[in-house]
């Protein structure tokens, strides 16, 4: 699988959504609008963050936006391999109760 660049998104053949590279204020804006198309007509989707190299709270805003978009489409969204730093940021921002971010 090719390594995507900063803030890139790749959908595997099995439907797994992979985020990679730098996921921060400078890169998430373009990804936010993809939520609607990604989750439409799907009952479940997995977003894999294993290849995310750098992040900030803007990444959380993206994941929250995707969670809302998935909910509107009736799609159950799960996040996998969430970087520890992103979990810490979620804790500081006080949103760990509204988004489930399992450890990698």
């Amino acid at each position: 699988m090719p390594m995507p660049g900063d803030g890139e998104l790749h959908v595997d053949d099995d439907g797994r959504i992979r985020l990679a590279g730098r996921l921060d204020l400078s890169t998430v804006a373009g990804l936010a609008d993809r939520g609607t198309e990604l989750f439409v007509q799907r009952q479940e989707a997995i977003v894999d963050l294993a290849d995310v190299s750098r992040t900030d709270s803007a990444a959380l805003a993206l994941l929250l936006e995707w969670q809302r978009a998935a909910g509107r489409s009736g799609c159950r969204l799960r996040f996998e391999n969430v970087p520890e730093t992103l979990r810490s940021i979620a804790d500081v921002c006080g949103i760990e109760a509204v988004i489930e971010l399992p450890a990698s």
Binding site: L25, D56, S57, I89, C93
Partner: protein, 419 residues
Amino acid sequence: MDRLIINGGAPLNGEVRISGAKNAALPILAATLLADDPVTVCNVPHLHDITTTMELLGRMGVSLTVDEKLNIEVDASTISEFYAPYELVKTMRASILVLGPLLARFGRADVSLPGGCAIGTRPVNLHLQGLTAMGAEISVDNGYIRARAGRLRGAELVMDIITVTGTENLMMAATLAEGRTVIENAAREPEVIDLARCLNQMGARISGAGTDVITIDGVESLSGTRYAVLPDRIETGTYLVAAAMTGGKVRVKDTQPDLLHSVTHKLGEAGARITHGDDWIELDMDGERPRSINVSTAPYPAFPTDMQAQFTALNSVADGVGTITETVFENRFMHVLEMQRMGASIHLEGNSAIIKGIPRLTGAPVMATDLRASASLVLAGLVADGETTVDRIYHIDRGYECIEEKLAQLGAQIRRVPG
């Protein structure tokens, strides 16, 4: 509600990193409202009041970004509301700190009055009197402070009593006022100095911070900056006392030794051998039991009221009889009853606690009542035979970042039980 369970007896040994000071971070986060450009605040402790402050700023429309090191970038240029609601202010009295910056920069602020406080009266009237003297029109309606102003004017302000948040609020407001403001009988705490440093880095003209007369020459605007909050002197002192009580040897890192001379001096009296470098302090008890000491609290640079409860715990296992006198806050000996349940011999007389040390306390279920009282109960648990359960530790979580992890790292047998 989470609880801490401690099995006492182990001397603490090792190194522990000190977090940024919450009492410096909160006013500095409020001060970001004054800047025209983004301000990045570093070394921010990972505590609930910080999250509450972020929520408060976020609800006003301020843009916040948290990076991987948990530095917080605040961009107040997107602000759309000038309002601090009761539901946030009631959980964090420091919310009042947005009053001065909002009024000075945007000419309006609606801030809920804080509610009561478990450790005594802390009036906000000095904040309001000062802002009124600077030209603000202030009314209190339905539990809210409603403040309006054009550009504030510099004024001579004399504080009737020393107040840290009052000094900070007025100092922030004065940075953008027209002309010179002089605050007399100002608080001298290091957190006030830290705020002044940050404001000066943003372009303010403040002199005298750290003395009881602070002079602020107002400027037209403040700009963005990047600022690291000073280390928490009370957290530093708490780990040093923990080491002294357990007869251990602990080095606290990333701290500032000159912030707590009064505390290290008392620990020396108690028999501790203390050495320090630029950013560390090491305490070594050589396995000995501490000696009892007498302490009287007073505003900085004297012995801090926020270390009183920890020294009560120390005296409860020290050799001899010591007296702790509280002169800053009323009603601040609530930990004593709980310590007595652990076998401590403490007699309360007015605003003093007379403590006859015993070699070991006895583990017991105890309940935290305020932040520093909770810390003192954890310390007592470290030197108690058997198991101590400290309930209602949301108090301790307000002031100590990862306390159970840091104490465990030093060898304490302590664990958190989610409730």
